[in-house]
């Protein structure tokens, strides 16, 4: 079968304005949208530009707005997307070329929450720190984040104001805030309690819908809010 692919193209080096281009691509029902993009790039128009690597939903390179929703192009199959597929860049970030956006503000927000375990004490026996399966479970969900930016760029608060740290950064703060081994919880909660932190969330659940890993993002945000309350930082 053939699929009609509409792609929003924009190369600031050559174009004044973004514009739509259409491509007809042969496809099997089980093909990924990424396969279609590759078909265009490899055999029709090599200037089409996007990021990708693993092609099976674990590296987080290819978040795009496909048929009106943020998804990974390598996880969305033709049989689900239908014969007419529109693809554009994720929103709220500057488009640098076609489907490729400026990720630097995203990484900056990520770095801002101190996304690393802080604990320089090593058990006296030199072995691993103990952690119960129940304590380990508290960050199971948020440790699964692949930093694809699908959630943050689906968030209407973020669209309106990019100074909001965004759901992805909160998810990654949560991963350490609830880790029983970490010693920098308060510092992170302070960052989260900032006016551009967790309070900006309006629980529209767009992020949860967008997350390709099905992380319960809103729940993580609420847990961070609760921790801020417990710490008396509110």
């Amino acid at each position: 079968m053939d699929v009609q692919l509409r792609i929003r193209r924009y190369n600031p080096e050559a174009d004044d304005e973004p514009h739509w281009e259409e491509y007809t691509v042969p496809a099997e029902p089980n093909d990924r949208v990424l396969d279609l993009l590759h078909h265009v790039k490899w055999y029709q128009d090599g200037t089409l530009t996007f990021r990708r690597s693993c092609a099976h939903g674990v590296c987080g390179s290819d978040a795009m707005l496909i048929n009106g929703r943020n998804r990974l192009a390598c996880e969305y199959l033709v049989k689900d997307a239908g014969p007419q597929i529109t693809v554009e860049a994720i929103r709220g970030m500057a488009v640098l070329k076609d489907l490729l956006v400026d990720m630097e503000p995203f990484w900056e927000s990520y770095r801002q929450v101190k996304p690393f375990l802080v604990n320089d004490e090593i058990p006296v026996d030199g072995k691993e720190r103990r952690q119960s399966p129940a304590d380990r479970d508290r960050f199971e969900d948020t440790s699964r984040c692949i930093l694809c930016a699908a959630c943050t760029t689906a968030c209407p608060v973020f669209w309106a104001d990019q100074s909001y740290v965004g759901p992805a950064a909160i998810v990654n703060a949560h991963r350490f805030i609830v880790d029983s081994r970490d010693t920098a919880k308060e510092e992170r909660l302070q960052i989260m309690a900032d006016p551009d932190g967790v309070w900006r969330c309006r629980t529209t659940f767009n992020c949860v819908e967008a997350c390709p890993r099905d992380i319960k993002i809103t729940r993580a945000i609420l847990e961070v809010t609760a921790e801020i309350g417990k710490a008396g930082l509110r």
């Binding site: 080096e13 090599g46 200037t47 990720m103 996304p115 375990l117 604990n119 072995k127 440790s143």
Partner: protein
Amino acid sequence: MTLVSGRSAIPPTRVHEMDAVVVGAGGAGLYAALELKQELGLEARIGVISKLYPSRSHTGAAQGGVCAALGNTEEDHWEWHWFDTVKGGDYLVDQDAAEVMCHDAVETIINLEHLGLPFDRTPDGLINQRRFGGHTRNYGEGPVRRSCFAADRTGHAILQTLFQQCIRHDVTFFDEYQVLDLALPQGSGGPVTGVIALETATTELHAFRAKAVLFATGGYGKIFKVTSNAHTLTGDGMAIPYRRGLPLEDMEFFQFHPTGMYRLGFLLSEAMRGEGGFLVNDRGERFMERYAPTMKDLASRDVISRSIYLEIAEGRGIGGKDYVHLDVRHLGADVLNTKLPDMSGFIRTYFGLEPLTDLVPIQPTAHYAMGGVPTDIDGRVLADATGAIVPGFYAAGEVACVSVHGANRLGTNSLLDILVFGRRAGKKMAAELADLSQPVADAGAEVSVQTRISGLLAGTDGERPAVIRSELQEVMFLKCGVYRTEQLLAECRDEVAGLRERAQHLLVDDKGCRYNTDLGEALELGFLLDCAEATVESALARTETRGGHAREDFPERDDANWLKHTFATRDPASGAMSMAYKPVTITEFQPKPRTY
């Protein structure tokens, strides 16, 4: 400076002075960078250069676990792990190197826990462990729980943890820079004094000058049609030294993982069999019971992949086709959803099948390069088969060949390899930095890279890189795959040579300087072709069957003649290939017939 299509130009080379640079931001590169920072202090100028954002590296795709004889759930000893590694590698493993890896494994895993890695835990709060292919108790008696894991996304957890700690230690990242050459101002003997890289965002060339350079760029699975490897795994870090006249070791050994998802190629973790899954043929038989009576579906990967091929060849593939089934239905919802959630998700997403009720179609998929850039146990790159060192040049991870995997890597030992040897390389670089010479430019290399890029951007006719790449992947999978013969390999060699010739005239559509990934892919094709050449040449040379190299015309292992590593070299001036040999280091375990 060359003008391109009237509106853009390649700007002149920009220069960065660093103390050390690491190329590649997977587990090996990040661990090395972290060690360098920890050893040298926060002021040290340590740069990590990567084609991708670090969190995109393929370490993140590793699933099942990383082995270390912690003995947390049952008795285990690192010496048993050592034996399993040597036997798994079909006795081509350098035993002194494997000893280091299995011994260091224990301390390294503990260090990762201290760095924050979210391992699954036992009820007592220790790191949990499970079974994995080829890992046994008491020198082969039966399976042992040795694999430390974070659900079925252990690689993701490792990559995230090391990236996070590099952020904490203020490592400098150069993201989306494609390294294209080494600075070797005095020729292939060294010293290496930096790298030359293309900034994807701008098509600017950057010269990084450094006293020490580590290659940790991963593998080259994209030479094959069906592979578990990411699109970006194009052998850059192997091809670059090879082009400069440095050797590649044991390139004939490529691991085909038995349980690739049919046609797609990416993996269903061995952990699915570790948890009790098994393979069945068209008749519903558990055929591994015939090929490996003791370890069955947890025999080593080369053994299982060859068994699947034999089943298919004898007409017992599913419906007579080129795949068999993985049966995990009996594992139950709890195991599938909590211990193997990502795998279960892949089956649902990509096949529309339900692992609780459906059989899963699988086929062997090109997975892992045992060979690569030869190094010693501290990551120092060897200039030749006699063991001479190239000063200032280090390699670790899949790009390197230490050799701890010999002819076939055991499951989980790839993660262990990147961790142990990435870390050791970082330590060694830090220790040697003071004695290495001040970096000087390699003007010849800078000009040659500049010329290559200008040529690609200027061309107005030629073939699309994707056409040549796809033909390469077909021929390599067909003629240099699980089973090989002299005739197939000779044909393959000629066809690869023809493709190399055709690749002299490539058409790159994108003539611009902004995120020109079309150009990037054309450059990667060149690397793939070089890796394919070295692989086929080495496969032709080795007239025996061992581990991941199965010759139908030489079906037996030949210890009398082949307990040695191949070193493939191409003379940069004449283009002539040559093969040299280095004896295997045998210290503890004498080669024995390998049964599972």
